[in-house]
Symmetry: C2
Subunit: 346 residues, 2 copies
């Protein structure tokens, strides 16, 4: 049994379900056996494209004894019900980031999966980029010295094409706009690199999007360890992704060509990590190799199911990233610094 691929079902069959299905296709550790979307047309097309059953309703999928885990890529505000129903039926859960659209729902999802004894893995893939992994390794080896600060950006132009039939248009479904869709990745990666966040201050603007969400956001994070971090994220300009880390002995500059973000089997080839030692002008390239962040996060999910291990990013980690988003939204609304503790208390 341990050598058999984990049998999964895809739920919510939009663009991202296909990106994950392609990643499953590159792995021998998982196999898609079923799928479900409310749209019959979508599930038939998906079923045909990936060679799996199409469940007629969600109960049929979660009752399916062959299904061991679900890969949920429904809209942010439609995570909770399918996650909890799957967990109650003993199915393990992979859900895309953000874990949910509210802290209350994130906590419900985490508690529900824990009580049901199923694995909960959340798709914070950015920390799995080869560059993020290498930054962590270099920090841990002490090569940058004591940490001073970090700067990150994750932006693209997706809000410009939004229309009212898209859930991302709406504040109640996608609060914070690029904060909850893009900046949440850096919130997780900064937690991975620097430890937990203590407090957040932010400014947000709605400048160019036709939608009701904000499209320009900047967030400052005070880490419990004392460092300061910046996360910029807009939804109105060229795709951008970078992570800069400033240490007393060296700085690290990691940039990813966003045009390859969704193609995780090649994205690391389209990224660059450089180190600049104090006193030197040279930006020395650091070799990264080629990983596959989506395949790897799904394989970790499969391994956790087989070996009963906790995934690297489960409920608590993903809720911490969402809390940064909520603290940023509240800070931008109130014009004051907001402690993570405040948003966790509701």
């Amino acid at each position: 049994m341990a050598d058999q691929p984990v049998r999964v079902a895809c739920v919510g069959l939009g663009r991202w379900a296909k990106t994950l299905a392609e990643a499953v296709g590159r792995s021998e550790q998982l196999k898609i056996v079923s799928c479900y979307s409310r749209s019959e047309k979508n599930r038939e097309a998906f079923s045909h494209q990936y060679g799996c059953r199409a469940a007629k309703n969600y109960a049929e999928l979660t009752d399916d004894p062959e299904v061991e885990g679900v890969l949920i890529t429904t809209p942010n505000d439609a995570h909770t019900a399918p996650v909890l129903e799957a967990a109650e039926k003993g199915k393990h859960v992979y859900v895309d980031k953000p874990i949910a659209h509210t802290i209350a729902d994130a906590l419900k999802i985490d508690r529900g999966c824990r009580e049901a004894g199923v694995v909960l893995a959340v798709g914070h893939s950015a920390r799995r980029l080869k560059g993020s992994r290498k930054i962590k390794e270099i920090i841990d080896q002490g090569a940058v010295g004591k940490l001073v600060m970090a700067e990150c950006n994750f932006s693209n132009d997706r809000s410009l094409e939004l229309t009212p039939d898209k859930w991302r248009w709406y504040k109640d479904k996608s609060p914070g706009g690029p904060l909850i869709q893009l900046a949440v990745h850096h919130a997780d990666t900064l937690h991975y690199l620097f430890g937990p966040v203590r407090a957040v201050t932010a400014m947000t603007k709605r400048l160019y999007t036709p939608a009701e969400i904000e499209d320009v956001t900047m967030t400052l994070l005070e880490m419990e360890s004392g460092q300061l971090c910046y996360v910029g994220s807009n939804w109105a300009s060229q795709g951008t992704f970078y992570t800069y880390v400033y240490g007393m002995d060296a700085n690290l500059f990691f940039t990813v060509d966003f045009n390859f973000w969704h193609r995780s089997e090649v994205v690391d080839q389209h990224s660059r990590l450089e180190i600049q030692y104090r006193g030197s002008s040279e930006h020395k390239p650091i070799a990264l190799g080629q990983g596959d962040m989506f395949r790897e996060e799904l394989e970790e999910f499969a391994q956790c199911i087989r070996s009963k291990k906790q995934p690297e990013v489960g409920g608590p980690e993903a809720t911490a990233a969402l809390a940064v988003v909520y603290a940023a939204i509240r800070s931008a609304e109130t014009g004051r610094t907001v402690a993570i503790r405040e948003v966790m208390e509701g």
Copy 2:
């Protein structure tokens, strides 16, 4: 007379006075005729090195009929008295950035020079970097499209070597640490590129410096035009200078090798400006040529004296940059967003 170089005197003869004297040496538009420092040893050495008189006291320098203008590079908190004394004696004034260490002193300096009818020029050189000039030109031509946001950093490790005999050690002389010494440059350049600042939110930390000032700072700026800007500045890591501008049609990435900052006759050769158009992966280099920001700001000072023009950065512009610093300090202390208006009102 119009073809004669403007005769200037250097006041406050530390490291930066020499950097400016070297810039004067590269120009035919100015000539150093006198100098003054409280230290007899320093003024004798400077007099010898740059072939000028050494005044025995400041009154001797400001009474000198040959002196047309003064180049003041005294500590931040020692600008006001020498500026006002020079202005009262009809001497034109170039003073290094920040214009002063408090808003009240900045306003006194601006008013004093206006009432005396002398030129007041403030050394905000960063906007004169070839890359800053080119960014402005590209924005004005519309090539980046509507402006979305900007990110800047100006950092170096200077606070690590501070000792209590240095004025930069003290909060009352150098409030904000890297904010008032480094970030103030970006405050001016962002004003130049985006227009005035409406409000500021900031976080600051004292992590590694032995001095009493902060050494890690991050500031968010809400511009009156609606865009958001970020300025990071620390005094504990490798020298860094960059300005990134995000537009709807293209992004601009401008970086300067800080190791050449003080050598303005070559710094532009050690900088890089790239443009990335929306939808493209290419970072296309933009040729910058070679300027000389310190020589050029001093030559503009000389031209303003000869032609009675206003300098590009005079009292109001330099006070606006200082107001961003003060708003950032107040925001970091109070944990709330601070309007520029508040700090201008005292």
